[in-house]
Every structure is written in structure tokens, then in C-alpha cells.
Amino acid sequence: MKVKTINRSSDTYVPVRNTQESALPRNLNPALHPFERAREYTKALTATKMERMFAQPFVGQLGNGHRDGIYCIARNFATTNQVATGSGDGVIKYWDMSLRQETASFRAHRGMVSGLCVTPGTSTMISCGDDKTIKMWSVKSTDFEGNDDNEVYNQGQGLVKTYLAEHSLKGLDHHREDPVFVTGGALIQLWDVNRNNYILNLSWGADNVNSVKFNRTQTNIVASCGSDNSIVLYDIRTNTAIQKVVTSMRTNALSWNPMEAFNFASANEDHNAYLWDMRKLDRSLNVYKNHVSAVMDVDFSPTGEEVVTGSYDKTLRIFRTREGHLREIYHTKRMQHIFSVSYTTDARYILSGSDDTNVRVWRTNASDRLAIKSARHRSKLEYDAALKERFKHMPEIKRIARHRHLPTVVKKAGEIKRVELEALKRREDNDRRHSRPGSKPYIPERRKHVRGTAIKDDGEK
């Protein structure tokens, strides 16, 4: 007779001392784990509910804000915790995000601050305004040490240099490495930091340029959008414009994708934001719909995975770059029309500047928390994320994950807009139905808003 039985020694499994961890042997045989799918689904559902329970997107505001609406936000790309903001009364402020306090504040311009950026390397920021001046400011606290805030504020200390322009300016951006910056306005001009006058005029027939942006990867490319509904691309190496596209309504802001150098997003007056490929501007790559008023600003996350838009409808919406539906919508009772949005350089927070004079800090992921997490907690969060991804199409999970409370005004406006769009579509369909087949072709949504490009594919102008 040959016989063997299971005989476990309890010493292997039961800890001898209190301080010892008890052994937890695993056996991955599926027979020991029944209801795998149902249990995972339940866990995914719980995780989704927990995520919504912990969703607290609003972190706070920076200091006491400004005294007028905030129209530009510029981040310091060298650090994660410093940003600059400019407001309607000509004041610019430099903020420490970790303290949520201002480190410098200057009365920079008479009238609005219309462009702001933090220069790379040197700790200065450049601002431009309606008063036809461009000013460079030091943000090093040593430059104005010993003076109290009032003094700095009034005396204009910290001013490094002033450039005089011939027209009021709108939009400003600095080159990633070289000491040059570009300004918009009646003309689009390239300035050298060390010279007093502009070095290049790039204008191509636009009435007024609203926003200019340097590409931060292909660093010699500049994009601008103007009040003649155009988006124009320039190359500063050849001192020429490359391409111009005219859309059906005005573009308010631009943002380059930091990871895919040839893609950029535009915020449009027609309630949508668009994703473009600069090589092929006769159609956009994606349309970010859902706002119920003009989109005033757009910003790419540093990973290039997400886009945040701020709108005149007083909401802030986050879209995944390649997806059609919005991921998140943020609003508060007191927030007014948003004119500027920006991700922080670590992509964890979003800043919004609005008409109500406050700079608000939002979490990129509403349920994310800053506190250091244990390895166990982190793996749990990763596991939950995987489960949520796996079961995201299940009706109940989808419902809970997508549900957002909206202000009545926005909700109502959305409903009205939907009805209007449906009516338009119905009318178009009816039109098509009663015309000769093929005479009224379908125009894809991504092409609808494009009026045309200046340079066609075959090179003819």
C-alpha cells in the first residue's frame, strides 16, 4: 500500500510571534476562484462609486486673486509650482503654488494685460498690454528685498526693460530656448530680448491677431489666430508664413500638443474646440463639443493626453485628446466667464482665471489626492482603474461614472442647443431627401467648420 495524505504543518502558516506576518499562500487555479467575472464587476462598480464619492475637484484659489478679471495665465516651464497671471487692470502677479501666495505683484500696464509669459532660464516674465508697451519683469525676490509690498507695487520696482511698440498688443509668447519672443496685435512681430525694436514682421493680412504660440518641440514654428477667423502658421527660420486656414468662426486661443509636435488645439467661438494636424489643415482631427458658449481658452496637458477648455459658459471641461466625449466638467457657483486655463507642469492641477478676479486651482482627476500613498494603496488604485476600464461599458457603471451635476443655466442651455441642432439637422436631412441624390453631400463634422486653406496641396496659392 502506498499512501500519502495532506499534512500541513501549522508552523508554516501560523506566525510564531505577534510581530510576524502570517503567511498568505496563493493558488491561482481558477477552480478556487468562482464568480471571477461577477466579483470583478462588483468591485468595479464599488470603485466607480468610490471615485464619485471622493470627487472634489476644487482645491482653492491663489491668494486673494486680482482686482479685475484674469485674462492670461503663464506657467514657468522650469518648475512645477510657479505661475504668472495678468488681469484687466494692468496688474501682473507671480504666484507660488505650494503656498498659494503671490511672490510678486506689479502694476505693469495701463489698461488690460493682453499677453504674458515666463522666460526660460532667466527668472523674468514678459508682459504686454493695450498701452503699446512690452515690459520685462524680474521675479527674483532679491531684486526688491527690503521693500514692503506697497512700495514694489507702486514704484514699479522689478521692471527690467521696456519695449515700445507702434500699436496695442495682443498675445505674447517666448521661444523655448532662444532669447526671442513673438507678439500679436495689429501686426505679428518677432522681438529679440536684447534689442529695443522688433526684428521681424510676420504679418499676413490679418486684421488683428488674438493669440500667438510658439511650438515647444519644433521650436521655430509659431501659430497665431486672428479676428478674421484665421489660424496662421509661421516659420521664423525662413521668416515666412507656412499655411493659413480660415474657419467659420473666430478662434480665441491655441495650444500646441507638447508630445506630438505637429498637433495643436484651437478654442473657437462656435462653442467647440478643435484638434488640428498642422500638415493637413483642410480638416480637423477631432472636435471637442459640449460647451454651450464660446470657448475662450484651451490648454494641452503636459502629457498630451488631455485637453482642458475654459468657456464663456462659466464651465471648464476636460477632454481626452483622441476621444469624442468630455471626461470631466468643473464649475462653481461663483465662477464667472473663464478667459484663461492652464495645466500646471506636473499635470496634476488645472488653473482657471475668470471674470470674477480669482485664479482657481482644480484637480485634474477629481478624486485624486496629493498625499503620499502606500504601495498597497497605489496598487489598489491601479487595480481599480483597470477594473473600471474593463467594465466601463456596463450600463450601471457608465451611468454612475458619467453623471455630473450641472448648474441649471448650463443644463438648460445645453438642452436648448441640442434641440436647435436637431432641428438644423432635420432640416438639412429633409433638404437632402428632396434634392437630386448626390447634389447635397454629407460634410463630415470635422470638415464643416473649415472655410478653406490658403495653400492647397498641389502648391497653388
Partner: protein
């Protein structure tokens, strides 16, 4: 770990992979990624096999003359190590028998209940009694709930829930005259059946009666859960076995399993096979995936108790014998694996101990624990069921399992149906209310009505009233119209079912002159 091929990955596979995806490139890339991850996971899981610490037991005969079923328990006890030999013991309880029993899911606690009202719970490995009390009324069955803290007892009229110390916590007044108990641990459902012919599900975490199902098949003779999909299998007096889920008022499946009343049944842990014993002395093995009979055995007297161990041993208690069969699901066996006799004491219930090579037998004069090598799963998963868990771990596990409690309406024959696309027609898939919703939203389609509907219309009434032999113009017209309508209906029905139109073979009579 999952980067290279490994042997023995079949055990960890879940279904087969698709060869062809859709035409959508983007979707394809995503699906391929999912498949790659799945393959890696399977290989990684197969790679953990070498880390398993324990090996399963066995009993083998040496030489052609030896038979494993001839070995007596005493001989086995001498041959095995002392730790195992200690697990063979007898409790002589002659007064309150016969004894029914239940083991906790991790195999630690043993619950005993005598027909005449003796209830005991004990840590059988230590031989320590946790509680013992007498209820002075008939007790039919006992079942431990999600951990060793609570158990339910089916008594003369009501079912009661006791805690570990034997304190009565609840009297379940909805469960009248239950004789059979079972507990679905992942759903926290206590299922009872008995003389009333009702199957009732009680959620023990909320205290709600989830559903009561009328079997309409008289007193229930046997009840076991399918541990793989939580479907309850009920054996009835007319020899049928019916499969129930709490959200269906009719059985999911009905099987004619034996000619006489069903005595007992058992299902293996992966829900693939079912053994059914009948009053006609038959013992049949069923494949639950195909719902077909695999093999048939017989017992000298009708079997009273069946159980299937983790490793697939089948114990059959009949009269005062217990026979253990091995490999019955693979092929037809000539000889049993083991035999055990309890002289002069009828077997009431035999249960394998989870994660041990031990079989517990409740009988007329008490309880016996015998050695059954190769019965138990050698390697437990401590995050699932841990025989060595501490009080702290038990508490945490309780909370965790309550958070992950499965909804009763997820119970279905295929446990992996969640998250899949239901490809059936909406008329089958949806309830009446949901169908109406869809109809009101979407376009209205022409309904295909069953022929039975509207049979008693005013027109037909009129037709019936008319005398049969009188033929007038109106009658002819009506008959013709009715025929046209009927043809159209049938044509639509054929179209709906996708049956091609039959061509008239001969064609009209005058066609030949064309």
C-alpha cells in the same frame, strides 16, 4: 514572467481567443492588446505553479492482488503520519441521532446536529467544543454561514440562526418546515427548502427575503448548490432535478434524473458534473454543461448521502456503508476507491472536509471522521479561504466579502455572462416594459402577431353564427379577405424568421401558353 511560453497553461485559460477581429483598425489594436495581456496573465499564472507548497494525497495499491477498497481505516491510520492519524476519530452520541453535519468553508469548524435536538459546534482539529445545546425539538439540517460566527439550523417548524456560542439570534419565520439548508457565500443568501415545496432565498446581510419560489413538485427531497454558478439544484419526489436561480419563477432546467424519488445529489466545485442518487438505487453522473447523462452506477440500497470533494472524489453513503469513488467523471469505474462500514448504524450524511483528506460521516449513533487520501485541495488560496486565518483576518475578510457581495440577480447558468453582449433578439432579451420604451422612441415596425391572437373577433363571431351551408356573397368576400390576411401574416412571419420564399413549382396554369 508572462513573456515566454510555459507548459500547463490550459488550467488557467478562460475561453478561447478570437482569430479574427473587426474591420476597425483602432478597435483591432485595442483587442489585440487585451489578448496579449490575457496571454501574458495566463503564462504568469502558470509560472506560479512551482511555488505551490503542498502536494495532494493519494492511495495506491501495490501489485495486482491488492485493491484500494479493501484497506481498512485502521490499516490506513497505521500507514499515514501521526498528524493525519489523529484526524480519524469517532464520536459516540447514541441518544440524539441520527446526526447531520456541516463543515465551515475553510474546513476548520464542524457543526453537528442530532435529529432529536442536539446542536454542537466544534473545532474538530483541536477537539475543542465551541458550543453545545439541546433545543428539544426535531432538527433537520445545519449550515454554517459566511464564517464560523453564525450558523443556521432547520428545526421542526422554523429555521433559526445561532451565533458561535449557541445564542439564538434570529427566528426566520418565513422559512416554515424547512428540511434542507444551503448558503451561497458570495451572495450572502441562505437557501431553504423542505416539506412546503418552496425554495426561499434569504439575504443574511440585510435580513430581507430575496425571493420565494414555488417548485410545484411536492416536498423537496434534496438540495445542493452549484458552487460554480450559485444555481440551486433541487431533487424532487418524481425523480426530477430542477435548477433554480432567485430571479426566475420557473426552473432554469429540469432533468429527469432517476425513476424513483431523488435521494441526494452533489455537484463538483467547477460546476461541470452532478451526481444524483435515486430511490431506484441508481447513481447517475450528469454533465452539467451538456445536460446529458455520462455514466450510471447502482447502489445496493438507495443512497442517503452524496458528496464530491475538491479533487473530485465522490462519496456515497448507503445503509451503513460509505463508498468512495475516484475518477467517476472521467470514465466508468469498475471498483470503488474506498469502502467504509459503520456496523449497525445508518449513514445520515457524509461530507468531505475542505482542504483536508478527511471524510466526516454523521450516522445513527454519532459521528465518524475517516481518512480519505487524495480528497482535498492541497494548496489553499489564503485570500480566498484560509484554514489558518486569525481572528483579525476573519474580520477583515468579512468586511471585504460584504463590500464585494454579489447581487442575487447575477445568478445564472453561465457565471461569466456579465459584461458580455447579449446577441439575442430584443423581444427575448427585454421585458415587456422595456420593449415598449424602445418602440415609443424608435420607429414603429409592423408587428408579427401570433396566429392565436384575435381568433374571437366580431367577424369570426359573425361567421360562426351564419349557417354553414348557406353561401352568400358577403361570406365569400370575408373568407377571401381572411385568407389573404392569413397568407400575408405567414409570409411576414417567414420573412422575420429568415425562411426563403417558396416558389410555386407548377406556376399558374396559363403560364405555359406564354
Amino acid at each position: 514572467m508572462g513573456s515566454h511560453e510555459r507548459p500547463n497553461t490550459e488550467k488557467f485559460e478562460r475561453g478561447t481567443l478570437k482569430k479574427h477581429y473587426s474591420k476597425d483598425k483602432k478597435l483591432n489594436a485595442g483587442l489585440k492588446k487585451v489578448d496579449r495581456q490575457y496571454k501574458e496573465a495566463v503564462r504568469a499564472a502558470a509560472g506560479t505553479d512551482i511555488l505551490l507548497q503542498e502536494e495532494a494525497g493519494f492511495l495506491e495499491a501495490e501489485g495486482p492482488m491488492e485493491k484500494t477498497f479493501k484497506f481498512k481505516q485502521n490499516e490506513l491510520a497505521d500507514a499515514v503520519d501521526q498528524g493525519t492519524a489523529n484526524k480519524k476519530f469517532d464520536l459516540k452520541l447514541p441518544e440524539f441521532g441520527p446526526y447531520n453535519l456541516d463543515y465551515l468553508r475553510n474546513g476548520r469548524e464542524l457543526l453537528l446536529v442530532g435529529k432529536k435536538g442536539h446542536i454542537a459546534s466544534l473545532d474538530w482539529r483541536k477537539g475543542a467544543i465551541s458550543s453545545e445545546h439541546y433545543v428539544n425539538e426535531t432538527c433537520h439540517a445545519i449550515k454554517s454561514l459566511h464564517n464560523d460566527q453564525y450558523y443556521a439550523v432547520a428545526q421542526k417548524k422554523y429555521t433559526f440562526i445561532y451565533d458561535k456560542t449557541g445564542t439564538e439570534l434570529h427566528r426566520l419565520k418565513q422559512h416554515i418546515e424547512a428540511t434542507l439548508l444551503d448558503f451561497l457565500p458570495y451572495h450572502f443568501l441562505l437557501a431553504t427548502a423542505g416539506n412546503t415545496g418552496y425554495l426561499k432565498y434569504h439575504d443574511v446581510s440585510t435580513g430581507d427575503l430575496v425571493s420565494e419560489l414555488r417548485t410545484k413538485l411536492g416536498p423537496t427531497q434534496a438540495m445542493k448548490q452549484n458552487p460554480w454558478n450559485a444555481v440551486m439544484h433541487l431533487g424532487h419526489g418524481n425523480g426530477t432535478v430542477s435548477l433554480w436561480s432567485p430571479n426566475m419563477s420557473t426552473p432554469l432546467v429540469k432533468i429527469q434524473a432517476s425513476r424513483g424519488p431523488v435521494r441526494d445529489l452533489a455537484i463538483d466545485r467547477e460546476g461541470k458534473y452532478m451526481a444524483v442518487a435515486g430511490m431506484d438505487k441508481s447513481l447517475k453522473i450528469w454533465d452539467l454543461r451538456k445536460l446529458s447523462e455520462v455514466d450510471s452506477y447502482y447502489t445496493p440500497t438507495p443512497a442517503s448521502s452524496l458528496d464530491i470533494s475538491d479533487n473530485g472524489l465522490l462519496s456515497v453513503g448507503w445503509s451503513s456503508h460509505v463508498t468512495i469513488w475516484k475518477n467517476v467523471f472521467k470514465n466508468k469505474q469498475k471498483d470503488p476507491y474506498m469502502n467504509h462500514l459503520l456496523p449497525g448504524s445508518k449513514v445520515e450524511k457524509a461530507c468531505f472536509v475542505p482542504f483536508e483528506d478527511v471524510l466526516g460521516i454523521g450516522h445513527q449513533h454519532g459521528f465518524s471522521s475517516i481518512i480519505a487520501p487524495g480528497a482535498g485541495e492541497a494548496n489553499f488560496d489564503a485570500l480566498e479561504l484560509n484554514p489558518y486565518e486569525t481572528a483579525k483576518q476573519r474580520q477583515q475578510q468579512e468586511v471585504r466579502s460584504l463590500i464585494n457581495k454579489l447581487a442575487p440577480d447575477t445568478i445564472s447558468l453561465d457565471p461569466n455572462v456579465i459584461g458580455t453582449v447579449d446577441k439575442r433578439a430584443s423581444s427575448i432579451r427585454l421585458g415587456p416594459g422595456q420593449i415598449d420604451d424602445i418602440k415609443n422612441n424608435g420607429e414603429k415596425k409592423m408587428d408579427i402577431r401570433a396566429d392565436v391572437k384575435g381568433k374571437n373577433s366580431a367577424l369570426r363571431k359573425h361567421m360562426r353564427k351564419k349557417r354553414q351551408n348557406v353561401i352568400d356573397e358577403r361570406k365569400l368576400r370575408i373568407e377571401k379577405n381572411l385568407k389573404v390576411e392569413k397568407d400575408a401574416r405567414q409570409r411576414r412571419h417567414r420573412e422575420f424568421k429568415g425562411i426563403p420564399e417558396e416558389k410555386d413549382l407548377l406556376g399558374p396554369a396559363l403560364a405555359r401558353f406564354k
